[in-house]
Structures are given as structure tokens and as C-alpha cells.
């Protein structure tokens, strides 16, 4: 379990900012590096076999050469694994009660952090494309923004439909809270409502359960993909268009659809 209290998850995180989602790419995106280890065993076994077959005739210089060759080979494999792990594991998407943060790690020396405030979210859509993405429940989530800002894409994350819906719910709640706080500020009891808003924001628990691979629960939404060949199937779902997408009542209803534990986290 990640301890989100002892260290900031991203540089601009404010005190009391609640982290709802911490997402990494699906493990399938790392599997190519795991295969590399298996492939590396083949030349290793070949060298060991050659060595054992020529144990009595092989020269000491050749032995040293073989050992150095094997060591260099495995150190390169280790180096590639480290590169792959850094690239995979430090590539994180974070959703808080105020913003969406996309941290992109490219190799060891390129790191990019982009932020988007929740009120700038205009449309959220999920894309599942291909056999592996369909079977393993991962895909892309596209977050379209208001204005000229670049769109956000969460690539190859697990359970994209559910994540898209949660982002949209958070966006809607953010708008509602903001509206309530503004309305409260204009009225007589505005200060107390503002305080309640701040209190709600600071006191709620942090949830990072939606990291990669932590749930086998499939998407709670009905799939748009019908029958037909799986390899030809392409799924796309859009979860909203515009800031005043749903009324608070309908939002409540959709939260309940999302399963008890998760809807609790969204409140």
C-alpha cells in the first residue's frame, strides 16, 4: 500500500488535497521486458553447454573470455530491465479532488508533469482496442479539455470505463461543490458553507486502490461491443459532454451503480 501522506505524489500537491486514483499502465505493457529475461536464457544455456562439453580441452583464456562475455551480457540485460522498470513504474496518472496529473517518464532522463484542473474537463471517453486490451480489461482514457489546452490521455490503464466514469463523477462533484461554495458566499450563511466545503475536502480518506492490477472486477458498465470477431472489435464509450452534464440526483444514481465501496470514495 502506498503511503500517500508522508510524501507528495506530485510537486504541486497542496496540503489536504485528496488523492482518489493513482494509475499505472497495465502489467501487460511490461511483459515484453519479462520476455527479454527468458530470451536471455537461451544464449546462456548455449554457452554453459559448450563449456561443459569442452571442459577438458578449453583454454583458460577462453574460459575467461566466456565468463566476461556472459557477465557483460547479463549486465546489459539488467540495465535494460532497469530502464524498462523506471519507464513503466514512474509513469503515473493521478486524480485528486482538484486536478488530474499526468506524470510521464521517458527512460531515465526525461520526465514530464502535466496538470489539468477538474473544472477544465469537458469530456471523458474510454477506448478499448484489440484482443489483448479486451481480454485483459485495459485501454486508454481520453480527457478532453476546455479551451486550447492539450487533451489528456491515460494510456493502457486497467479498467478504463470505470476510471472514465469516476473522473467524470469527480468533475461533477467538483463543479457542484464550487457552485455551492459560491452560492453560499453570496448568501448569509456563506461562510459556514465554505468552511464545511473545506472541512469535507480535508477530512475525507485517501484512496489509492485503483493502482494497476488491484482488482479483477470488470467494468460496471455494459459493453458497447456486440458479437462478431473479437479481433475486429473496437470499443469506445463517451462519458460526458459539457460541464452541466447531469443533475445531482442523476449523479447520485450513477454512483450507486458503480458499486458500494467506490461510490463511498467519491463522496
Amino acid at each position: 500500500m502506498i503511503d500517500t501522506t508522508s510524501k507528495k505524489l506530485f510537486p504541486s500537491q497542496t496540503q489536504g488535497e485528496r488523492v482518489f486514483l493513482l494509475l499505472r499502465k497495465h502489467w501487460f505493457n511490461y511483459i515484453v521486458f519479462a520476455f527479454l529475461d527468458l530470451l536471455a536464457l537461451i544464449p546462456t544455456i548455449g554457452v554453459v553447454y559448450y563449456w561443459t562439453q569442452n571442459y577438458n580441452t578449453i583454454l583458460p583464456e577462453t574460459e575467461i573470455g566466456l565468463v566476461i562475455g556472459l557477465a557483460v551480457f547479463w549486465l546489459i540485460i539488467l540495465g535494460i530491465q532497469l530502464y524498462g522498470f523506471v519507464d513503466y513504474y514512474l509513469d503515473v496518472d493521478i486524480v485528486t479532488d482538484q486536478r488530474i496529473v499526468d506524470i510521464t517518464q521517458n527512460g531515465l532522463f526525461r520526465r514530464n508533469i502535466s496538470e489539468l484542473h477538474l473544472h477544465q474537463v469537458q469530456d471523458v471517453s474510454a477506448h478499448v482496442d484489440g484482443v489483448f486490451q479486451t481480454l485483459l480489461h485495459f485501454g486508454d482514457v481520453l480527457i478532453q479539455t476546455a479551451g486550447e489546452r492539450e487533451n489528456f490521455v491515460f494510456r493502457a490503464i486497467p479498467h478504463p470505463y470505470r476510471i472514465a466514469k469516476q473522473i467524470l463523477d469527480l468533475h461533477q462533484q467538483h463543479i457542484e461543490r464550487k457552485r455551492r461554495a459560491e452560492k453560499g458566499g453570496a448568501g448569509a450563511g456563506g461562510e459556514s458553507e465554505k468552511n464545511q466545503f473545506e472541512h469535507d475536502r480535508l477530512e475525507a480518506p485517501i484512496d489509492t486502490r485503483h493502482r494497476n492490477n488491484e482488482s479483477d472486477d470488470p467494468t460496471p458498465f455494459s459493453s458497447s461491443s456486440g458479437g462478431g470477431n473479437v479481433s475486429e472489435r473496437r470499443e469506445k464509450k463517451s462519458f460526458g459532454s459539457g460541464l452541466d452534464l447531469r443533475s445531482p440526483d442523476s449523479l447520485q444514481g450513477s454512483e450507486n451503480d458503480n458499486g458500494g465501496g467506490e461510490s463511498d470514495n467519491l463522496r
Binding site: 500517500t4 557477465a71 557483460v72 540495465g79 530491465q81 532497469l82 513504474y89
Partner: protein, 66 residues
């Protein structure tokens, strides 16, 4: 043979610098409680095991040749 071993030592130095950069990234940007600490320890142990094993073989063999 001396040249090969020298090249190997230079390679190990470069590898150590590269590893330090990677481990620094994991340590700097990882979060407490996640996999980064485990990976750092595992990577360091395996790397030193490979390097150590190679020298544990090379040194006695060299002395045997000389």
C-alpha cells in the same frame, strides 16, 4: 587478455554510473510502500552477484595462467 579485462573493468564502471542514475530515479520519484525499494535492493544484489562471480572466476584463472 589484459586488454579484455581492462575493457571489462571500464564497462563495469559505466554500468555502475548508469545504475546509479536509474536507482536515483527510483529512489527520488518512488513512493514509500511501493515496489521501488524492493527493485532497488534486488537490482543491486543481482548486479553485484554477477560482477562478483565473474571476478571470483577470473582472478584464480589468471593466477593459474601466470
Amino acid at each position: 587478455m589484459g586488454v579484455v579485462i581492462l575493457i571489462y573493468i571500464v564497462f563495469i564502471l559505466a554500468f555502475l554510473v548508469y545504475s546509479a542514475a536509474g536507482i536515483y530515479h527510483l529512489w527520488r520519484f518512488g513512493y514509500s510502500g511501493d515496489l521501488t525499494r524492493f527493485v532497488i535492493v534486488f537490482y543491486a544484489l543481482v548486479s553485484f552477484a554477477v560482477i562478483g562471480a565473474s571476478f571470483a572466476f577470473i582472478i584464480p584463472t589468471l593466477s593459474r595462467i601466470s
